[in-house]
Structures are given as structure tokens and as C-alpha cells.
């Protein structure tokens, strides 16, 4: 695969495992941070584990969060993994603080079962999703999370899974995507989802389509 991605390396945690996974898949990546900022020409992957507030604080250094927000609102494809997905939303209960606010909704704690949820759970693309079920097949992926996203728009839910009740396992809206699970630690199926996302966004990044795509992103951000 030739599409180069910008990998955000300020949020710590699973950066190493995502890098290794991209290496295995042959996906070239460029590390971006407040010293080496992305210009929006490449898809952005933001991995993050740990505390919602801590990840946001790391991102806020030198206004990096605002830059990422501007680029993503402008149409640059974005994939958030774990806390990288959670910070897409307006609010995180974990630290009682604001997220990037690119998707309407909040992040709340699981109320039942052992916390954190640790292990493999089956994800499925629900009928309500605006994404095509045939493009996003179901399967088992690895989760480690105590908190879970509650999108306001049910159509934004790409995958749902069951942990003492349905929860949002992934979101997708236009150029914005988020996986609550760890595709880089979910065997061949998890890697295939990462590949699928890269394929989807590399098509969308092509030539003339890019402009229309970016414009669409801006409209949606308002």
C-alpha cells in the first residue's frame, strides 16, 4: 500500500503497537507532533490510550489540538483509535473535560460488568449505520476500555458490540472515523479493518475528488 499516513505521536500509549502494525502492513507513515505538524494532505491516525483528559492535555500543547481539528473539519481523513476515538466527541466524563467536538456526543463510563472491559468482542455494523454493511464486515476485535462513546447521531455508529448491553464500538461520518477497539492488536481481522480504512480514504484523497470532499467536510463541521 502506497498511501502515506500521518501518525500523531503525542498521545503516548499504543503508538508503538500501531507503528509496528503499519510496518507489518507496509504502510508508510510520518510522525506528527507540535514540532512537526501535519499539513492535511495525508490521512491522520491518532492512537491513544489511558486517560481522556491526559490525552487532550498532551494534544493541547502549542495549539496542536486546534490544528488537528481544523484539518479534520476541512476534510482530512482522520482515524482515532481507542481514546483517539473518544476525543472526537464533545465531552468526556472520565476527566470532566471537553473533547475536540468534531462529532456530537459524549463519553461515559460502563455501568455494568467488570471494568475495564478487556478482551475480544464481536462487532457488527448496525442497520442504522450510514456506512454500508457489505463494506464493513463483522468479526472479533480486542477491546480495553472503561469508557464508551455515546454519539448523538445514531447514523454515526459504524460498529456496535454487546457488553451487558449494546455499545458503540466504532464511528464513521464522512472523513471522520474512530475505532474503540485496537485494530493493531486484533489479529488478521483487525489489520484488515485498518487496511480497509486506508483504502477508503486513499480513494477519497484522489485528485479532483479531494476538493469536493474537503468542502463537504467544512459544511459538516458547522
Amino acid at each position: 500500500m502506497k498511501t502515506e499516513v500521518d501518525l500523531v505521536d503525542v498521545a503516548g500509549g499504543n503508538l508503538g503497537s500501531v507503528r509496528r502494525c503499519l510496518d507489518r502492513l507496509g504502510v508508510p507513515y510520518n510522525l506528527v507532533n507540535p514540532q512537526n505538524v501535519p499539513d492535511g494532505s495525508r490521512p491522520i491516525i491518532l492512537p491513544g490510550v489511558g486517560n481522556f483528559g491526559a490525552v487532550m492535555e498532551n494534544l493541547q500543547k502549542d495549539g496542536f489540538d486546534q490544528l488537528v481539528k481544523r484539518l479534520v473539519a476541512g476534510g482530512t481523513p482522520y482515524l482515532g483509535i481507542c481514546v483517539g476515538m473518544q476525543i472526537l466527541f464533545d465531552w468526556g466524563d472520565e476527566s470532566n473535560s471537553a473533547g475536540l467536538g468534531l462529532l456530537p456526543g459524549k463519553v461515559v463510563k460502563f455501568t455494568r460488568g467488570k471494568i475495564p472491559q478487556i478482551g475480544w468482542n464481536k462487532i457488527q455494523c448496525p442497520d442504522s449505520s450510514q456506512s454500508k454493511k457489505t463494506e464493513w464486515p463483522g468479526g472479533y476485535v480486542y477491546f480495553v476500555n472503561s469508557f464508551v462513546c455515546q454519539p448523538e447521531n445514531i447514523g454515526d455508529i459504524l460498529y456496535s458490540a454487546d457488553y451487558y448491553g449494546d455499545f458503540c464500538a466504532a464511528v464513521k461520518r464522512d472523513n471522520i472515523c474512530g475505532f474503540q477497539f485496537h485494530p493493531e492488536k486484533s489479529g488478521p481481522f483487525g489489520q484488515s479493518l485498518l487496511v480497509r480504512w486506508i483504502e477508503t480514504v486513499s480513494t477519497n484523497c484522489d485528485g479532483g475528488e479531494n476538493l469536493a470532499y474537503a468542502t463537504k467536510g467544512v459544511e459538516n463541521a458547522d
Binding site: 508503538g16 480486542y142 476500555n145 454487546d162 457488553y163
Partner: protein, 262 residues
């Protein structure tokens, strides 16, 4: 629905895999990276690597080994054994381990759990507890004859007079993400998991419990999930000796109506 995890454990010394009976009499089982990949392809849900190296050179070799595992494996793995400081934890996580398991060091300095969970998150903070039934457990009048377990450290060689269940609860308060509970009475014996003990811990603790020690056959796993409510189960000998494959275990667990990853 969250599936029950089957975790092969590989004891590593000087780059080789070994497995002991009651923590001694080590037998050599082969290259741990190759074994790890084989288990991944068989459907293992996670792997556990236990470093039983004593020397400084061995510790450095372990970090290189962890990097090789991280480069090759696409499922999560935990590294434990001899983790004595926050520095050790940092090195192992940087080398690519998804989680680090702490045992003796956490007992000696419980603040280590707080430090690791605060700095790196609870998700990578496993506390391993080696527990043994207290000899007077059944007839201790002070507690109404309730069965109790005590914590052993230094690979089962030393008791520090700590109640295992109380210690596990303290670990949770300090930020542990999972408890790896090994029955010293059962370890290496292949007589089945300690159902009574695992059940007591699983019911009491709000975080996942990984049962370890005593797996004899696929039915041992069915039993520990069904009767003891374990979230995951770990075994070494029955897999390394090729008595059963991960697939054999998963099939039995699935046929018992328990959710596993297929």
C-alpha cells in the same frame, strides 16, 4: 458479548521457553517467538511471557526478545517476572509489551501499582498473585471457618503473611487493571484450576481475573469459566507438551455454550 480468553503462558530464560513444575525442575520447550506465533495462529487470545532470568545480561536479552515478539505478533501480550521498578515497566512497555505483570515488587512496595497505573494507565497494569490455601484455613474459628488464601512471593518460596483476597482488593484500589491469580497448590499439577479460589476472587473483584495453575484438559477451562466465573484462563504445560491445542480448548468451551472467539 465479551468472550472468555485462553492465554498460553511461556516461561522464558535466556531466550528459551521453559516450564517448571511447582516453579522448579525446569524443562526446555523451544524458541518463544516461534511458539508465540504458533499459538497466535491456533487462536490464542493473548500471550503471557514470564521472564525467569536471574542475571543482568538476561534482562537485556529479554528486552530484545520483547521487541521481536512485538514486531511479529498481532495479538496482545503481557510480560512479567522480575519486574522490580517503574524503570523496568517503562523499558518493557517501550519495547512493545502491551501489559506488564508485577508480583513480588508490588507486594514489597505497593505504591508501584499506583505509579504504573497513573503513568501508563490501568489497562497495562496486571498484578500477579501467587496464592496458597492457608493451612488453618478451614478451621480458623476467628473467621467462622471461612477458607482463606495467603500471598506467596519470590516464585512461591516465601510467605509474607498477607491475605490474598485482601491484597487483591488493595491492588484494585491502587489501580490494577487485571489480576493474574495463580494457585500455588495447583501450579504444574494438571489436576484442574482451583475453582473455589478463582470463584471467590472473581465474585469479589470488580476487575477481570485471569485464572492460572492446574489446567489439565479442555474441561478444566469449561469448569473455571462456568463454575468459577473467570474472565480468562492461562496455561502452559498442556499446550507446550502438545497434549491439547488452543483449538481443542476453544471447541470444548464453545460446545459448553460459553462465548469464545472463533
Amino acid at each position: 458479548m465479551l468472550t472468555k480468553r485462553i492465554i498460553p503462558c511461556l516461561d522464558v530464560r535466556d531466550g528459551r521457553t521453559v516450564k517448571g513444575v511447582n516453579f522448579t525442575n525446569l524443562r526446555d520447550m523451544g524458541c518463544p517467538v516461534e511458539l508465540g506465533l504458533m499459538y497466535e495462529s491456533q487462536g490464542a487470545d493473548e500471550l503471557m511471557f514470564l521472564d525467569i532470568t536471574a542475571s543482568v545480561e538476561g534482562r537485556a536479552a529479554m528486552l530484545e526478545f520483547v521487541e521481536r515478539v512485538a514486531d511479529n505478533l498481532s495479538i496482545p501480550f503481557t510480560v512479567g517476572g522480575g519486574v522490580s521498578s517503574r524503570g523496568n515497566v517503562t523499558e518493557l512497555l517501550n519495547a512493545g509489551a502491551d501489559k506488564v505483570s508485577m508480583n513480588t515488587a508490588a507486594v514489597k512496595r505497593p505504591e508501584l501499582i499506583n505509579e504504573v497505573s497513573t503513568q501508563f494507565g490501568s489497562q497495562c497494569c496486571v498484578v500477579a498473585i501467587d496464592a496458597r490455601k492457608k493451612e488453618n484455613g478451614n478451621d480458623n474459628l476467628d473467621n467462622g471457618g471461612k477458607i482463606e488464601w495467603e500471598v506467596l512471593i519470590k516464585g512461591g518460596r516465601e510467605s509474607v503473611g498477607l491475605d490474598a483476597l485482601e491484597w487483591a482488593e488493595e491492588c484494585v484500589r491502587r489501580g490494577a487493571g487485571e489480576i493474574l491469580l495463580t494457585s500455588w497448590n495447583r501450579d504444574g499439577m494438571q489436576t484442574g484450576f482451583d475453582i473455589e479460589m478463582v470463584k471467590a476472587f472473581s465474585e469479589r473483584l470488580p476487575i477481570p481475573v485471569i485464572a492460572s495453575g492446574g489446567a489439565a484438559n479442555p474441561e478444566s477451562f469449561v469448569e473455571v469459566f462456568e463454575k468459577a466465573g473467570a474472565d480468562a484462563a492461562l496455561a502452559a504445560s498442556i499446550f507446550h507438551d502438545k497434549i491439547y491445542s488452543i483449538g481443542d480448548v476453544k471447541l470444548a468451551v464453545k460446545n459448553a455454550g460459553i462465548s469464545v472467539r472463533e
